[in-house]
Symmetry: C2
Subunit: 201 residues, 2 copies
């Protein structure tokens, strides 16, 4: 006995362009993260999103345009997960945990890097976030170690932090551990933070 709906609730709408757009972007992120640009299939993205394939062309400019839009949104989203206030090593531990528990962002960044050809959608937002990290390193480590280039160190730590996601086969071979096992993830994050702590001294 459904009562008469006076004003249709927003989520009951059958057509909602903004929601559809976002569903496509989310599905694209999942598919591209899993298979990379060349390996991703737009049919699969449409299926994941639960929409007709043509909508991908309707809202975005083909596969390339969708990849760009998705990458840009992810870049801006990731730029918000900075949590200042704590020490560098603690911040790095959380950053590593976040990365390893939500590998999609790391994988999108890694795929993008391997096919980098000069343009980097969403790069400004990410660079801005990383620039804050560089400052922090310059303050907490650079003072006593003037020979260290803070930007290089940040990149090293960043790459180190993402290693279990980007090189799982190396982890599996060398550590004989599943790179996604929560126990290993905790251990690894602790180790990354430990190295930073050694450098803080």
């Amino acid at each position: 006995m459904p009562g008469p709906r006076r004003s249709p609730k927003p989520q009951e709408r059958q057509r909602d362009p903004e929601r559809t757009r976002q569903k496509i972007l989310d599905a694209a992120a999942a598919e591209f993260a899993q298979h990379g640009y060349a390996g991703a299939r737009i049919r699969a993205i449409a299926e994941r999103a639960g929409v007709n394939q043509q909508l991908l062309s309707y809202y975005f400019d083909g596969k390339q345009g969708l990849f760009r839009a998705m990458t840009e949104q992810w870049g801006q989203r990731q730029a918000e997960i900075s949590e200042p206030g704590t020490s560098l090593s603690e911040q790095l531990r959380r950053y590593t945990l976040e990365n390893l528990n939500n590998p999609d962002g790391v994988r999108i960044l890694a795929w993008s890097g391997l096919q980098y050809d000069g343009e980097d959608p969403g790069g400004e937002a990410r660079t801005a976030m990383l620039a804050r990290g560089v400052e922090q390193i310059a303050e907490q480590i650079g003072r006593d170690n003037p020979d260290i280039d803070p930007a290089c160190l940040l990149i090293m730590l960043m790459a180190a932090s993402m290693a279990p996601t980007t090189m799982p086969q190396v982890i599996a071979g060398l550590c004989r551990a599943d790179p996604r096992d929560p126990e290993f993830v905790d251990h690894y994050a602790e180790q990354v933070a430990l190295i930073a702590r050694k450098l803080e001294e």
Copy 2:
């Protein structure tokens, strides 16, 4: 006036299976390194090798088989570039230089990692090489830092060493430098070695 060739020199042979096989493997390495597995084109590999496309199926088991064979050979090849005897930091500096000046191996490893699904051709050879690095870290760093996991540290340093190749867009955005510029490469390798030296103390 070409003289009569009594015994045809080996390099004059029109058909040389072993050489053809290797030409295909080299071309495959270049193509896969540049575009990844899904992005690589069989026709392009055949063109690069200067042979008919069908030979790729004749010598290897399709695209997958070729990728496996190529990856395996590269793994074994890379396992030979270890140069013991020097200090860890110096060894790391050379390893970084080698990696950044010959990005193909790094890129193949990176593509492979992102599509890792449990099997890792050529992984044993690489693991064996890395295991020696772990021992070296355990000796030179682990003595005074029992809380450091040598295997994790090696993976971090390895990932850090390859970062300019795997994440060139981040370098470009943060360092405002071309990741392949020889001057930057030298600087970065020096920085990687520097971190290792700080930990050796």
